[in-house]
Symmetry: C2
DNA sequence: CTTCGTATGTTGCCAGTGTCAACATCAGGC
DNA sequence: GCCTGATGTTGACACTGGCAACATACGAAG
């Protein structure tokens, strides 16, 4: 239906975007789907102006709704940010799974996952920061966030497990190895986001290099005399 | 003139720390070394209560000084945070250099650097977040911060260069390889800080594993037939 | 020693923020 | 047709970062 869904990296946020601009003059007292609209507006604000620029009053005003209407759908600002983070993990997981499956579920697909991971972070730096920047402190407070975060990580674990079954990667403890891989992509992503890789194309270059070296690092030991 | 300037790596924090508790009743109008005291108080607050809890009024009150006295020493709150970050990079660099030199400047020393890096981050999570969490946006605004950050990274580059000269690591582009190593430790540190490795000892375990796999990843290609 | 400019610290004040309590409006089941 | 709960509004409060005007004290110049 939506032609933009054919763009590989588009996450479908445009749907809500249209609803955002459709502010009818008749202004029904009840918004209909305010929670979703609030989330989308927060997402857009964070993407466009950063996390600090997110203010409950303005997001309300932008939706033509009062400043405290938000409290009927989120406990407080942190809860809103937690929802934003949850949404981010969902999108991230989706991109990872897509990269894995469309890449053929092999070593190249695994590399694609790495590229996709860093790509998501670099394309949505503020959003990524909400997910990892310590804005939502204890994940225990918001179980849904913990669940979605774990699911995104699981996509990585599953792919790695498949490679392990085919002896493409070492037989080490799966969780440990997955966490190592995660550290690498997360590290590259964070450095890129924070402007520590200022040269043009530096993030991509580093990512390519990291993927190669990572591949060497987690490949099985070559038994003496093997081809 | 100042005797503490003779200590190579000492940043004089101890002095101010005593001045912090020594709040004489006579309350001289001029504080003497308020800038240093403000920085230390900010550091302490960030460490104890997190970045969000840092408020200019409270830090002033805690020093027995008015809320706006700070503006005679820092342009605004971001400038204070930038100074905190600068201090962090200085300390981090010191720990890295110490680990490298006391470890014998060999492969083991390099591993010690990794441990020291993650150790610093995990022991001072909030401080580390100020350094990398996007609180001080463009490093161009505060050249001193950029300098100190580059110096910390340079410690890593220098160590890696030494290993490269001895053919202990590959002959790849030095900057690229250093950035890769940085990504790994930074990634482990960030995941640890964000509570993504909840089990007790998980950070250390991951760090040990990462160091091992990283070593394999950046070791030179074995020419066919070598021992 | 006095004088005085300047660095340093203070007080009053402002707009803006998150959040709560009290009130208003509506939708849907009896 | 009425009432109950869900949803949205208004008023208020404490708190924040920051500015302008004022107060104080150090140190150099006479």
């Amino acid at each position: 239906m939506l032609t933009m869904s054919t763009l590989p990296f588009y996450d479908g946020r445009g749907m809500a975007r249209t609803a955002r601009s459709a502010r009818k003059p008749r202004r029904p007292y009840h918004h209909g789907n305010l929670r979703r609209a609030l989330l989308d507006e927060a997402l857009a604000t964070i993407r466009d102006e950063g996390v600090d620029a997110l203010t409950l009053r303005e997001i309300g005003a932008r939706l033509g709704v009062s400043r405290t209407a938000l409290y009927r759908h989120f406990a407080d600002k942190r809860a809103l940010l937690a929802a934003v983070a949850t949404e981010g993990f969902r999108t991230l997981r989706q991109r990872l799974v897509t990269a894995w499956e469309e890449g053929g579920r092999g070593p190249e697909a695994f590399e694609s996952m790495g590229i996709a991971y860093v790509g998501f972070a670099v394309e949505n730096p503020s959003h990524y920061r909400v997910m990892f920047g310590g804005f939502v402190e204890a994940t225990a407070y918001t179980p849904e966030l913990a669940t979605e975060g774990a699911a995104a990580f699981q996509a990585l674990v599953d792919a790695l497990a498949a490679l392990q079954r085919n002896a493409i990667v070492r037989g080490d403890d799966l969780l440990l190895m997955a966490r190592f891989v995660w550290s690498v992509v997360h590290g590259v992503a964070m450095l890129g986001i924070d402007g520590q890789l200022p040269e043009r194309g530096a993030v991509e270059e580093l990512m390519r290099y990291a993927v190669t070296r990572l591949g060497t690092g987690i490949s099985p030991d070559r038994p003496a005399g093997s081809t």
